[in-house]
């Protein structure tokens, strides 16, 4: 094998290893509320406790409570960003972030709504 192939191969392998490593670190598995409290970046899914959302004017963050559908545990979520458009109507809310001393600090919120982009025909 010529040295230039070895160099090329090394570069490619380094990148792929780097990519796989980053991917593994950035993976955010869906976990239960109890597991989320153990730390790490994860996704939790739950129902919004209606009426609990407000803007915390000091930290300028959106705060709300989520309920785990299975364990009925509740968790306070802080989100540094714009309240998603369909927040109140969401069937479920996915929060991606980390649990830190009593609250879940969300980096990203995904709001699940039934049939968001699909026109549903009337009852057939």
């Amino acid at each position: 094998m010529k040295p230039k192939y070895i160099i090329a191969l090394t570069v490619v392998v380094v990148f792929l290893v780097f990519g796989a490593f980053s991917l593994k670190k950035s993976l955010t598995p869906y976990v239960s509320f109890a597991q989320a409290q153990k730390g790490g970046t994860v996704q939790i899914i739950g129902k919004l406790v209606s009426g609990t959302d407000y803007y915390d004017s000091q930290s300028q963050k959106l705060a709300f409570m989520l309920t785990d559908q299975e364990s009925r545990l509740q968790m306070k979520v802080l989100y540094d960003g714009v309240k998603p458009g369909n927040f109140e109507q969401a069937t479920e809310i996915v929060a991606i972030g980390q649990y830190q001393s009593g609250t879940f600090e969300a980096e990203q919120l995904l709001v699940k709504c039934p049939s968001k982009y699909q026109g549903l025909p009337p009852d057939k």
Partner: protein, 721 residues
């Protein structure tokens, strides 16, 4: 509307016939003319189907489930036309239709490769038709609704008219190099394929790229999509094939001139279109429904998409395995420090980037298969794209200065000097301005360098005609794009401000006053903000309303465009706090009175009378209610003696204050009243929460996009047959 469905079936029959006829022409071109005519006929029927669907939208034919689902009779003509591709079924029809149009051009220009290229091309069309027939836009409802559901307000935007057609045109165009690659492998003749494939690859870079940029621009000015780029699966699904076709176009340049990189190019051409299908599968099949902001619901075409994917994967892999081992390849004899080699490095960079983005986008699917379904955080994409962006701009900064085969290092030193010095200067300037992050400075430095290397070469080359500078223009655009991204996202200053109605708020060097809600005729209500700067003031109206269609809050920012920086005013939330909203208890003796805003209320006397036969008793409190103009008497009362006490309250003239008689204290001859006040307009304080942010140098991003598109147009012109 059976006519529409019938034309779809006829399109299918004729495309299938064309496929067979092209298949029969593979050995000798005997049936070729017949095949072309059949393909043309299929095109006509497809045009009819498209026309019928447009007609159905224009005449509000709500018998059609698709028309019902995506339009309504009050929709303006402009949006009525774009409703055509608002949903899955219509998008596929659009894709099919564009496929036919491009197919006609392929017939005209394919020459000796026509039969095999059109054979594989028709196969793609047949499979899209399969999916369309499975989920047709001409499906009828059992009964005709009077009104349609309307178009998602997020999609009611002028960009909706051009964005999806551009993306689908790009997807369709990638089917052409795909078909040419298969044709070349099929015939085992590779002489003409790069010349055939090149303009189509450039064309798909142009259209898919324009689609991506238009999408980004649209997302930038409508808040609901979350910024110009969010690494969402739907966005990534269009980015990945775009990156691979960028790699392909560079490979084809080398293959055309040197005959090298043949296998790489064939592979890239095949994989680009396979990635289009895979992306369609990821985003349209509902597998990512839990992970994406805008993925589509499952329509039951998954099996077809998987079949589609596996079939083409199989054909591609089989043909490559058959031909590659015996293929004669031209080794490029160039120096490692030559333009040729740098093109190859760039191809690798783009391919690795595409692969890593693909890996992230597929993560939910892969992890679902392996274990716990997981998504990747956006930080993954930032992490992987950063070093590759540095490498790519590094290649861009050198390659225009290098010689094609072997670079004379002493002449290189001279050429490098000016761009290098300018880049150092600008990086220092950026540092002083506020870029303190070391990795940002590194990326900035190479980007500036790439910018000026290409700029100088551009001016050097310009006398030979604009067309000959296409590469430099595209690379200039790429450097500007990266600058725009670094500054607008990394150095955007933003803060959230609460604006109380009627009160002037000082923010930086301007004043904002929230003036109230505005009812718009199209129900897309907005909020009125007075924006004052340097003594001049102007009313701005960002949108903030609740949509009945999507059952969600819609927001559209106000953007004040500036050359250096955009001011981005995004309404977040309108809070209405009613000052009067309260329940208060009052205890009064006879003759005593109390006041609430606008009223003075005096307890005059009891009223007692038997209620009905059952021995129930009605006890009331006669209240004299005085306003400034007049006084009335109201009597809230209780009915006692039944199983439960019934309370009957009274409402004051303002319609918001209710008074009920809660307690009768007989021994002290007092009454207890409960005064319940709803928030009335006059007493509500409205607070509008807005996010004020600056997007510095965002214009460089758009300018970069435009230059990349311009460069692609020129490159098509330059290398078209």
């Amino acid at each position: 509307m059976w006519l529409g469905q019938a034309s779809l079936y006829l399109t299918f029959v004729f495309t299938l016939a064309a496929l067979v006829l092209y298949g029969l022409s593979l050995k000798n071109n005997r049936q070729l003319r017949k095949a072309d005519l059949t393909f043309g006929a299929a095109f006509l029927f497809c045009t009819m189907a498209v026309a019928f669907l447009f007609y159905a939208f224009l005449t509000h034919d709500f018998r059609l489930s698709y028309v019902y689902g995506y339009s309504s009779s009050d929709l303006p003509l402009f949006y009525l036309l774009s409703s055509f591709w608002a949903g899955q079924e219509g998008s596929f029809l659009l894709w099919l239709f564009m496929g036919f149009i491009l197919g006609l051009f392929v017939i005209k220009s394919a020459r000796e490769n026509q039969a095999p290229a059109m054979f594989y091309y028709s196969l793609v069309q047949v499979i899209i038709l399969f999916m369309l027939l499975k989920k047709s836009p001409f499906e009828l409802l059992p009964n005709t609704p009077v009104e349609g559901r309307g178009l998602n307000p997020l999609l009611q935007d002028p960009w909706m008219v051009v964005h999806p057609p551009l993306v689908f045109l790009g997807y369709t165009a990638l089917a052409v190099p795909f078909a040419y690659a298969l044709a070349a492998l099929h015939k085992n003749n590779f002489e003409t394929w790069p010349r055939n494939a090149f303009p189509w690859t450039s064309f798909s870079i142009l259209t898919l790229g324009a689609g991506i940029f238009v999408g980004g621009f649209w997302a930038y000015k409508v808040l609901g999509w979350g910024g110009y780029w969010g690494w969402d699966p739907v966005e990534n699904a269009s980015l990945v094939p775009w990156l691979t076709s960028l790699a392909l176009v560079h490979g084809l340049i080398l293959e055309k001139s040197q005959g090298s990189l043949r296998k790489t190019n064939l592979f890239l051409a095949l994989i680009s279109f396979l990635l289009v299908i895979y992306g369609t599968f990821l985003t349209r099949s509902g597998v990512l429904a839990d992970f994406s902001v805008h993925s589509f619901a499952d329509l039951g075409i998954n099996k077809f998409l998987i079949f589609f994917m596996v079939l083409f994967l199989f054909i591609s892999a089989a043909l490559m395995l058959m031909r590659f081992p015996k293929m004669r390849v031209q080794k490029s004899a160039s120096d490692p420090f030559s333009q040729q080699k740098f093109i190859i490095y760039g191809i690798w960079g783009l391919a690795i980037l595409a692969f890593l983005v693909l890996l992230g986008t597929s993560a939910p699917l892969l992890t679902t298969l392996l274990a716990n379904p997981s998504n990747v955080a956006i930080s993954y994409y930032l992490k992987i794209s950063f070093p590759l962006a540095v490498l790519l701009v590094l290649f861009l900064s050198f390659s225009p200065l290098l010689d094609w085969q072997k670079t004379d290092l002493s002449s290189l030193r001279k050429k490098v000097l000016i761009p290098f010095v300018v880049a150092v200067g600008l990086t220092v300037f950026a540092y002083v301005w506020g870029v303190k992050n070391l990795s940002h400075l590194l990326l900035l430095f190479f980007t500036f360098w790439a910018l000026f290397s290409n700029l100088f070469r551009f001016f050097r080359k310009l006398p030979e005609g604009l067309v000959s500078t296409s590469g430099f223009i595209t690379h200039l655009g790429f450097a500007l794009l990266i600058l725009g991204v670094i500054f607008s996202s990394g150095y955007s200053k933003s803060n959230r401000v609460a604006l109380t109605r009627g009160e002037v708020e000082n923010i930086e060097d301007f004043q904002l006053t929230y003036q109230g809600e505005i009812q718009e005729t199209n129900k897309q209500n907005s909020v009125s903000i007075l924006f004052a700067k340097d003594g001049k003031s102007q009313e701005v109206r960002p949108q903030l309303y609740f949509s009945d269609y999507t059952q969600e809050q819609m927001r559209k920012p106000y953007i004040q465009r500036g050359l250096i920086s955009d001011l981005y005013l995004a309404p977040l939330e309108l809070r209405k706090v009613s000052s009067g909203h309260s329940d208060s208890a009052v205890i009064l003796a006879k003759g005593e009175s109390f006041q609430i805003p606008g009223f003075e209320i005096t307890f005059v006397d009891y009223e007692m009378q038997p209620h009905d036969q059952g021995g129930q008793m009605k006890i009331g409190a006669r209240l004299e209610v005085e306003t400034e103009e007049h006084s009335t008497v109201l009597v809230p009362y209780q009915v006692i003696g039944g199983e439960q006490v019934e309370y009957h309250d009274v409402t004051l003239q303002d319609g918001q204050t209710k008074i009920s008689l809660q307690k009768i204290v007989a021994d002290t001859r007092q009454i207890g009243l409960l005064v319940h006040t709803e928030g009335g307009n006059s007493e509500v304080t409205q607070t509008l929460l807005v996010e004020v942010s600056h997007k510095p140098l965002i214009n460089l991003l758009w300018l970069g996009g435009i230059l990349i598109m311009l460069g692609s147009v020129l490159s098509i012109k330059r290398r078209a047959i």
